[in-house]
Symmetry: C2
């Protein structure tokens, strides 16, 4: 007797869904059955969206953010943004969190990672040359280093500050300190140390 199992197309769907981060065997099976029982239209829609995104989405030749292939992103294309203010982030995914806080009105620059010799990421693997070119063509600009506050982020910020020192620009770093709404009791010592170091007059 052969054990009953799902047809090959269902097994392949389960295997494909399981590749997604955070989705295990049981979750993938549950999703596949949901698509078959309640979501055939959703399956077709997601299928088309995946193909379209995989084929059409590229990175902006200026800043490295996601954009439709062959086009510059909406920020780089926006003449009302300040062209003398650059916000340098690690990944394109870091752009929208800054955009959502609603106060930054300049341009972005996505490095594509952070310097991390242990992971084999060296400065030449990042979009540093392009950043220097952009800064050179905007004399007197400000470059805000909005990379992470972990060890690799700090190393990346230091490296960029050195590279930018010879150019006609101001280099700043986003503040480190207490996150909004947090009590002192839950802050770790390094955060508190940096919050004290960065204190401001009222």
């Amino acid at each position: 007797m052969k054990a009953q199992d799902y047809p090959p197309a269902v097994l392949e769907l389960i295997a494909s869904l399981k590749r997604m981060p955070g989705v295990g065997s049981r979750g993938a099976e549950r999703l596949a059955l949901w698509f078959l029982q309640h979501g055939r239209n959703d399956a077709c829609r997601l299928s088309a969206a995946l193909t379209s995104a995989a084929q059409d989405i590229s990175t902006c030749p200026e800043c490295g953010f996601f954009t439709t292939a062959g086009e510059r992103c909406t920020a780089c294309d926006d003449p009302t943004r300040r062209a003398d203010l650059f916000c340098v982030v690690e990944q394109p995914t870091d752009v929208l969190p800054i955009e959502r806080c609603g106060t930054f009105r300049g341009l972005y620059h996505c490095l594509g990672g952070k310097i991390s010799p242990l992971d084999g990421v060296m400065p030449e693997d990042l979009s540093v040359e392009k950043l220097l070119t952009r800064v050179r063509s905007a004399p007197g600009c400000e470059v805000i280093l909005a990379v992470g506050s972990d060890v690799e982020g700090e190393a990346t910020a230091l490296y960029l500050a050195e590279q930018l020192a010879a150019l006609n620009c101001t280099v700043t770093r986003i503040a480190q300190g207490m996150p909004a709404g947090a009590g002192l009791g839950h802050a770790d010592p390094i955060t508190l140390m940096r919050a004290l170091e960065g204190r401001r007059g009222l």
Copy 2:
């Protein structure tokens, strides 16, 4: 100034992923960015699997389990299975859990739901006629009612028992009692009551 946002193809991918059960806005965005940054091949693979499953997967004309369109399922097609033993389940998704326990060697019958007037599911919405036809063509068979042990499951089992009473078959119900590995301290009163009622000599 227009706020920077993802390109339309990415927004559509996020919206499509969010339709999946258990995936919220943040989870959908995280998955979409994963597909763009690390999983373009996986995106194409999942896209193809979704299309293929949505188009090719149908239900077995005999038992209602998933099968490739136009074919009977592997169980109904297997001559080594007992043709005089039917296991009646609510959904096609209930078949594999039984199959995995490895002791059932008969055929399945998926009702497509359970009687639930509050949800508008009446007996005529279920695959009952087909079940009666299958039982009639297998005189002396046994029909195991493996529907759920909730109120609607019990109502469905009672209804099926009535319908099957006039036919030449034995009707049984899977046992209710303590789940494997559970301590008495965690059992609810109804489960304990049924476990006591269903006690067996050693």
